[in-house]
Symmetry: C2
Subunit: 183 residues, 2 copies
DNA sequence: GCGTGTATAGTCCACAGTGGAATGTCAAGG
DNA sequence: CCTTGACATTCCACTGTGGACTATACACGC
């Protein structure tokens, strides 16, 4: 009965006290959203399964259909086991690089538009990370609390650097490709 | 009829001439494998659908059950349309950061073991990227041909840097966590 | 010529992850 | 009292992942 990483992290969050699916989505977005994704659908799906397996139990039902869950002893055990497994490798999927890989089939102006807008996204993210860092430091956080944020900072800085060192002739008209029907 | 990125890139590869599913998996792994993933299952699944939609057609059938596909005019059109769409944002999922986010529940020695092995993976990748770069340059490639590789180089360098600036007290014993049953 | 291992080639399936539509409830303010 | 927006969950279709399974062709050693 191996847990997947999503279930593992949900169990991790429940260590801070009972939460509903809605709460967990919010928490996850804030705490691990920069390097892990999990969607509403998935959270509710997993919560149901987790309850069935006895990893969590209903803590309280509030207004609307709100159902908060609490860790069980079994859930706590399962979490520790999961956390002790060697974490898998990272996965990156970056559609912009796909576009770039096929850039010779693309209009130069469109390409430079795409690049500009993606660059802006990364610049914004870097800016927001810096603010988060400053705020955390002001609130008394130490380096240990900032490792994942630091990852984001370095990542975004590197990506921006990459944008700023792209060769010019990327967005310069290239003679139309032969577009051969065969090899 | 919007194509997904996987179909888009398959169409892209077929511009180089007819290929079978098997070939396409190999090509994709080599050309876009560092920032995009696609699995055998998916390739064959999509090829069937693409053929049904008239984006590709059977080019030849070889030994074993080999079936090579060729682009149709419609497929070429669909590819251009797909490529002209603004590419989506990148997705990153890094389980190690998840582990790190819950590090206070984890044994210091285990954590440092995980960190060491992940660091090694990134060091290897950086090394291999450098070799690829050198080989490409030696073969006469220009900057324009190396943009995606350059992304990988900068990414891996940044990640390694991050590893090398992790605070020491990450892997220093932390007083056992209270592990409260509730809030 | 004859096995036999390895690379090639494809199929199938269960599970995980994504994104949006649909549904409903409660709270606040005019 | 009515509308608007935040809260909360469910459901679905599609996409993506990874492994098990089958089978054929070919190179090689004998």
């Amino acid at each position: 009965m191996r847990l997947n990483a999503t279930v593992g992290s949900l169990l991790g969050f429940l260590h801070e006290g009972p939460q509903s699916g809605w709460d967990l989505v919010t928490t996850a977005q804030q705490v691990i959203g920069d390097f892990w994704s999990l969607t509403r659908s998935q959270v509710y799906r997993e919560l149901t399964a987790m309850a069935q397996q006895g990893l969590i139990e209903t803590a309280e039902t509030g207004p609307r259909d709100r159902t908060a869950y609490r860790l069980t002893a079994q859930g706590r055990r399962a979490f520790r086991e999961w956390l002790a497994q060697p974490p898998g490798e990272e996965q990156i999927r970056y559609p912009l690089l796909l576009t770039l890989a096929f850039a010779r089939h693309l209009d130069a102006e469109q390409l430079s538009g795409f690049l500009a807008s993606h660059r802006a996204v990364h610049a914004d993210r870097l800016h927001s990370y810096r603010q988060q860092q400053a705020a955390a430091l002001a609130a008394g956080a130490v380096a240990r609390d900032l490792v994942t944020l630091d990852f984001g900072l370095r990542y975004e800085a590197a990506v921006l650097d990459w944008f700023d060192h792209l060769p010019d002739d990327l967005t310069v008209p290239v003679p139309p490709v032969a577009d051969g029907t065969g090899a």
